[in-house]
């Protein structure tokens, strides 16, 4: 009996806890709190936060190689399957119509990727700080946070720096949720009141055939120029083709509903399993959080500045605010652009105009991811 009691006591959490595990369980709880009461990307942050809690339970080894989270991680994240399936679902949910109706605005989605590459540089520079040691692969994985696109960040992170994946994913989704706080001051600082008041003309109607051809064109260009981006871009295009072709409604519906939901649950829990105390509670996580903020800010600024250039070039046909939507963070950043525009001019509905750069930013960061994967890994 006594022996049994001792055995049971020795198997309790109270007996086995390390301070780091307690800390990470608190972090998981905070993520869940932010997700529920502040609406921080709850679809991802609740599973990630919960996965983080489960992963830090002593004795149970849920994130170990034979535990549920460990198995899900190796089957779905290490293999890259989960983020790619999410991307397929994103493709099946995305209407590229607003982008196709005025393709020139895609250039805003290109400019905003500057946030990624500037952050890469910043991450390497951060190596001068003692206690922080980022390899080129680490830096690239951190930089992709600036893409403001969850599955892209997780895909690149899992390939280049799996140890940092937890912090990268948490930073990416947290900043995406914080877009309404991060972006407006930057947008306002870089634009004049008059620029912000710019109204944009109605979008032209985009035909069904154009919408069907677009994913195929996008894939073709990516194949020719940057095959390393084709897993991500290809699945995005596949999902979008399912949606637009109009003859496989049941597949499109499943891809954007049940399948993406199932994968989201699994992906969130798996990513959470990387919130292990020894990896997360380090100076490097602080560095990642800082760099992620930099990445979002620089990306926003670059988008707005390119918006200002387009404003000049087009003789005032483009409101520079929609440049901020180029970071992606779909559809939050487009909504922010709309909101800031309305503050300047209550008749100024920028939402659909901002959707173009917004989804172009998804493509832009997938391309950036392809470059990083091709050269760094």
């Amino acid at each position: 009996m006594e022996q049994g009691l001792l055995q049971l006591w020795a198997s309790t959490g109270l007996y086995n806890f390390t301070i780091g595990q307690i800390g990470m369980i608190v972090v998981g709880g905070v993520l869940i709190y932010l997700a529920i009461s502040r609406g921080f990307e709850p679809l991802l942050l609740i599973p990630i936060g919960f996965g983080g809690i489960l992963a830090n339970i002593p004795v149970a080894e849920i994130a170990g190689p034979d535990g549920l989270l460990g198995i899900l991680y190796s089957a779905g994240i290490e293999s890259g399957i989960f983020p790619l399936l999410i991307f397929m679902g994103v493709g099946a949910m995305t209407d590229f119509g607003p982008m196709l109706s005025r393709p020139s605005l895609m250039i805003l989605g290109a400019a905003a990727q500057f946030g990624i590459f500037f952050t890469l540089f910043g991450a390497i520079a951060m190596n001068v700080v003692p206690g922080i040691e980022f390899s080129m692969a680490d830096a690239a994985a951190i930089a992709i946070i600036g893409g403001a696109d969850g599955p892209t960040a997780i895909y690149v992170g899992s390939r280049l720096a799996p140890d940092l994946l937890g912090a990268i994913a948490v930073a990416a989704y947290s900043y995406m949720a914080l877009v309404p706080i991060i972006q407006p001051p930057i947008m306002k600082a870089l634009t004049t009141e008059k620029e912000r008041q710019t109204r944009m003309t109605q979008l032209r109607h985009v035909g069904k055939l154009e919408k069907i051809l677009f994913p195929l064109l996008l894939l073709l260009v990516t194949i020719l120029l940057l095959p390393s981006a084709t897993p991500l871009v290809g699945m995005l295009c596949f999902g979008n083709l399912l949606k637009e072709c109009g003859v496989v409604e049941r597949l499109s519906s499943t891809a954007q509903n049940e399948l993406i939901n199932i994968v989201t649950i699994f992906l969130g829990l798996s990513v959470g399993s990387k919130l292990a105390a020894d990896k997360f509670l380090s100076a490097e996580t602080l560095g990642i959080l800082l760099l992620g903020m930099v990445a979002f800010s620089i990306g926003t600024a670059a988008g707005v500045i390119m918006g200002k250039i387009m404003h000049r070039v087009t003789g005032g046909a483009v409101n520079p605010l929609i440049g901020a939507a180029g970071v992606s963070a779909v559809p939050m950043a487009a909504r922010v652009a709309n909101k800031v525009g309305l503050q300047a001019n209550p008749q100024n509905f920028l939402l659909m105009h901002a959707m173009g750069p917004n989804v172009a930013g998804v493509i832009g960061s997938a391309v950036a991811a392809g470059v990083l994967l091709a050269i760094v890994s």
Binding site: M106, A110, I116, N127, L217, L218, L226, V367, V371
Partner: protein, 74 residues
């Protein structure tokens, strides 16, 4: 690797990466524009019609039946 070397490399990546992003998106802008010229203009669908496909005949049947039952119950 020395940090200097890494910094140089990351600057190169900045150039290459932004170059690739701009080239690919610019090429897409061109292609989309060309396609939009070539593709025959669609008659833009009348707005009331657009709303219709979201209600399947089955749904209408179900709702019709439900209205029936609803009326009968009263």
């Amino acid at each position: 690797m020395e940090i200097d070397q890494l910094l140089v490399q990351s600057l190169q990546l900045l150039g290459l990466g932004m170059g690739a992003v701009f080239i690919i998106l610019t090429l897409l802008i061109l292609l989309i524009t060309i396609v939009s010229k070539i593709v025959p203009e669609e008659a833009s669908p009348a707005p009331p019609t657009a709303a219709r496909p979201t209600i399947s005949p089955d749904h209408i049947a179900a709702i019709t039946a439900a209205i029936h039952q609803y009326k009968k119950r009263r």
